[in-house]
Symmetry: C2
Subunit: 507 residues, 2 copies
């Protein structure tokens, strides 16, 4: 005979149960347990919400929470400010120091010409022999290395040997600072200097042109990449996927090196760097072309990409299109060229920039869907993804992570206050994302830590914890272009660093 | 015997089918039909995406699309600018004129002291007899009507009769303009004047205090509300739900009228207004108390609210809490008081402000969930809802609409560029929303048209169309506090106006 659930309980207990039932079921007040359940359910959905944490990780979480609360209660909340103004505050914060020390895994969205602090470019590279400078008629600069006087180029009537020039002036600091200003977007008053996206993008493209002659000088090219790896490594980033234009580089006598040279050089530099820094895991290259190309031009580039990947499968991860989306051609325009590898039966992983826009409903705004239809491996930026529920669901189903670059989006005027960054929606839903820094050198950032700060403090809210950071770091390996075997190796390496980090930073 | 699906087809057709199959299934290019299907699916999810449109409505949509594209292609895109700077551009746009003419249904989130253009307060009310002014020691003003010299009050040592004062100066325009400045948040350079939310909220509360003595003077109180209805009616809004503090009003001799007087006055003014404007449908009042109250104070207010609703069921719609959420007490703190009506077995519809914040993960950020658990009928603002997937899903399941007030959110510094307004996410998912104007008079807006412009052009993107506008208008009746019978009546009335609007504005 089945026993009554209340059988064996005393009268007093029964009365207590009835009272409890009344309180929960009959009281007009919302049930606190149900409320607690919903809150927990919501929290478990967010990035890192389902990560099982060790005792030590939980303890670290208490510290993280306290530090974050301090930041949020300050009258000047850095993520609500423009990064150029917030940077000194961030740099001084204890939480930032902690994030710097944290092993962050890989940086999956960074560009070839914006890896290295421009201080290094000015203080090291421009002081090398044979460096010429030209002040353009539109208030910018160009550099070139040459064994004899270079010829004038558009906007540039006169090249001056920097060595001679510096010898003539007493104090080189002003000159060097003017170079630095030309090589970054930094300015005291960004709101005034960059009233809209057109203006800031124009300046953004100018800085690339200013750096071009320095970075594409073959000897510098190697050193620049090596220095970049050094700076990311110092920021506790162990792996890099580099969006690279694979430009021709030049020698002092003007001879040009081709794309194969460039790609080979990347491969050699990575090998050398890893040999010297066994803690570093490596780097791969995503070959990029500009959205300004026409369809048949892109077809040729794709053919070249297929060839390069065949020859350099180790270093070459895949292909992407770069440049401002709003003024460029939409992905769908290139569909034929981009379908070429599949038609040839070869694999060409794509890592498309898509949705780096706030203009809704245009052809460009369709790029995210088209990237997915073209079988992209990740979505670069995906700033507009939250406006596209079907596309967002598809991206989740396909396991396609979004590369979130908070500081880049702010400087390029997609968002003002980081708390409004759409990644907050993605993180609240646990959508696969990774954090990256896009062009750290141009924004005055470095490595990944500043972007991790913005994401963790500004975007993810007070309830994000050790699990959030852990998931973001693990994601950067999980969603990388590495083979399953290499992912496994990288994860083991990262886990060791992580465990050490947790133990060393317990409160 | 079952027939083969291809039986009876000719050889040529079979070949064609095979070719077709190859094109669709075997081509490496994404299938354009599948793409089109996904795009349509996404579009059908957005606000208005499933509204069936008549031929005429579709034709109007073509015009709307053209006009919106013009706005988006302009170098100065109003929704990307602060409303104070955008307003002259909006006022001159053809699309705005169209939205003014459009029958917008009801305004469900507007406050009692910010209904009427402040010009009217200054040019009409302050020119009435017996109006005293005082310039406070903190650069604000106070007004009072009195039959003899009023006594000093805090911050206000000297009251001057405005009539006498004006008689002594040659040109009253400067004085009047200074009053206008004190009664609104308008300023030439809002970014500089209001560097953060604390500063703008302080000024916001100041403007209420400045208007207080004018609006709570009993004769003005009636006229003010009448004028408010007139201005909303002129903006083609046919129904109002007013968040009202139900303050004591005063007579010239200083006698005070109680809440019952105030509520009765609202009721009488509505009746009179509807009698004179049979096209107008009516107005109801949501009694509001301040989040600064403590729990037992609120309990008393709730008891009073229950009593008022029993006595004035026609005009009184329900209850809400007002004041800045971030510095006020969270809803959960008041749970006992707010559960009182249910405990008493009486109905007290709630219309809670919740989620008017960008601080994530705090107790205040939990207000939206708690509002739902307390059975709220709508959510005021819900700016933070998109950061709470579980709460968002619950709100949708419960059919609880979010009252989106774009201009208010921008002026009070929750968002800079309207394209980043979180309602864009809600609209893309077809979450139930209504558009309202919160405190139009304080922002230099009026009625609903400016907020409809921001929502339609800035938030909803290029693909939103006649269906979007139609759904927004219908929502304002569907999610109102009206009885099902009155909703039906209001919808019939609205539909007539709408059909006329569509026909009269065909391209």
């Amino acid at each position: 005979m089945p026993r009554s659930p209340l059988e064996g309980t005393t009268k007093a207990t029964k009365l207590l149960l009835v009272l409890l039932c009344w309180t929960v079921l009959c009281s007009a007040m919302p049930d606190p347990n149900y409320r607690e359940h919903l809150i927990k359910m919501e929290q478990s959905q967010q990035t890192g919400g389902r990560v099982l944490l060790s005792k030590a990780e939980q303890q670290l979480g208490v510290l993280l929470h306290k530090l974050k609360q301090q930041e949020m209660e300050s009258s000047e909340f850095p993520p609500a400010m423009h990064f150029f103004k917030a940077k000194p505050l961030i740099r001084n914060s204890t939480l930032f120091s902690l994030l710097q020390k944290m092993p962050k895994g890989g940086a999956l969205h960074v560009h070839d010409f914006a890896l290295v602090d421009v201080d290094w470019l000015v203080k090291n590279v421009t002081y090398r022999q044979h460096c010429y400078v030209c002040f353009t008629d539109d208030q910018s600069v160009r550099f070139i290395f040459a064994s004899c006087q270079p010829k004038p180029v558009p906007h540039c009537s006169e090249w001056m040997l920097l060595e001679t020039m510096r010898a003539k002036i007493d104090n080189c600091t002003d000159l060097d600072n003017s170079f630095i200003r030309n090589l970054t977007l930094y300015t005291d008053n960004p709101e005034a200097a960059y009233p809209n996206q057109d203006v800031v993008w124009k300046r953004f493209e100018e800085t690339f042109l200013a750096a071009w002659g320095l970075v594409t000088y073959a000897p510098v090219f190697k050193d620049y990449f090596f220095e970049g790896l050094k700076q990311f490594n110092a920021d506790n980033v162990m792996y890099l996927e580099l969006r690279a234009l694979l430009p021709q580089t030049y020698e002092l006598d003007g001879t040009l090196n081709d794309r194969v040279w460039t790609l080979k050089t990347y491969q050699e530099v990575v090998k050398q760097f890893v040999a010297e820094h066994p803690d570093f895991f490596g780097a791969r290259v995503i070959f990029t072309a500009h959205r300004g190309l026409n369809a048949s031009e892109l077809k040729e580039v794709i053919k070249e990409a297929v060839q390069l990947q065949r020859e350099f499968p180790e270093i070459m991860a895949g292909f992407d299109l770069v440049g401002r989306e709003d003024t460029g051609r939409p992905l769908w325009y290139y569909r034929e060229a981009l379908s070429l590898p599949a038609e040839l039966g070869v694999s060409m992983p794509y890592f498309f920039h898509a949705g780096e826009t706030d203009v809704q409903g245009t052809d460009v705004d369709q790029n995210m869907l088209d990237a997915l239809l073209l079988n992209t491996s990740r979505i670069g930026h995906g700033f507009a993804l939250v406006h596209h529920p079907t596309t967002k669901a598809l991206s989740r189903k396909m396991g396609v992570a979004v590369e979130v670059c908070p500081i880049s989006n702010q400087v390029l005027k997609l968002v003002t206050d980081m708390r409004n960054h759409p990644a907050a929606v993605l993180m609240s839903e646990g959508h696969p994302i990774v954090i990256s820094s896009d062009d750290p050198a141009l924004f005055g950032a470095s490595g990944l830590s500043y972007d991790f700060y913005e994401a963790f403090v500004g975007i993810a809210g007070l309830k994000s914890d050790t699990g959030t950071l852990k998931e973001l770091a693990v994601n950067s390996i999980r969603y990388s272009s590495l083979s399953p075997k290499l992912k496994e190796e990288a994860l083991v390496k990262w886990q060791k660093k992580w465990d050490k980090f947790v133990v060393e930073n317990l409160p």
